[in-house]
């Protein structure tokens, strides 16, 4: 699956990582709904790190579309409130 980290780049992520991403995604939603800013940033950073470390960055001239687009790494907690709601970025 191709995942884009907004303002950073695209990564080819093994399908086996998707469950873990989904779990982190749900925890982000929980943190946002609970108003826990520290927990949100920690979890979202973990999510980004998973993509960066388990994913293979696409070549610059690759024209593939992403299946999932993650918000920018410098996302504020306020902005997170607009993204991480309901089922999060990844539908359950």
């Amino acid at each position: 699956m191709i995942v884009r980290i907004s303002t950073e780049g695209q990564f080819e992520v093994e399908d086996s990582s998707v469950d873990k991403l989904n779990e982190l995604d749900n925890r982000c939603v929980e943190a946002v709904e609970g108003g826990d800013e520290a927990a949100f940033h920690a979890t979202y950073d973990e999510m980004l790190e998973l993509v960066r470390s388990h994913g293979k960055e696409l070549e610059d001239d690759d024209l593939h579309e992403s299946a999932l687009i993650l918000p920018p790494p410098d996302l504020t907690f306020e902005e997170a409130g607009e993204q991480f709601t309901g089922e999060g970025l990844i539908p359950d």
Binding site: R4, T7, D62, L63, I69, L70, P72, L89
Partner: protein, 249 residues
Amino acid sequence: MPGIGGRFSTVIKSKVSKMLDKAEDPAETLDYSYQKQLESLQNVKKGIADVVTSKKRLQMQSDKLEQSVVKLDTQARQALAAGQEDLARQALERKQGLQAELQGLDTQVTQLEEQQAKLTDSEKKLRSKIEAFRTKKEVIKAQYSAAEAQVRISEAATGVGEEMADVGLAMQRAVDKTENMKARADAVSELEAAGTFEDLTQLGEGGDDIDRQLRELTTGSQVDDEMAKMRAELGTGSADAPQIEEGKA
């Protein structure tokens, strides 16, 4: 897909399909989207130039503040030498306020430099994608039937479109940050302009809004420390001096 992922790609797809609807033959669409891509690339370049301009402006403001800090220090020294304890204290309070602002400004200039580097990277990536699109469009033109070409154009254009939207987002975030910095720097400039200590007698009256704001930014003890240091340097010795000026405070 909900969230930013969903909305983001839907926007790109609808733009691409609108573009495809307008064009009658795929070759025309291909050339048209390539033209559009080149235009967008120009906008990205312009955007980066704007960030650089803002950074330079902030650096100039920072230099100006630096000069004011030096000036206030000199004036505090002169005031103290002349026995004008109150004026010296006010000058030092202003100086400390400006120093705090100066630090903030320098941090922001550094952040802006990072933004600039990131945008330059993004521009490079986008340029590679556009170049890949150019190559691909020639292949599509030469090898595919009209119906099949439509699908392939859509795929390729969406890939470039996504990158473009992402650069757009990065640019927007950089501009927003720059705007915040500019507003802050302008506020500092106003403070600095109003409090440059040009007129010692005017300062003696004190108590205006700027004085209050600047005083809030400082701690009294830092000023006391500096006063003591200056006194020592000037050789005025003991701290009896404040009593002379107390009536004016």
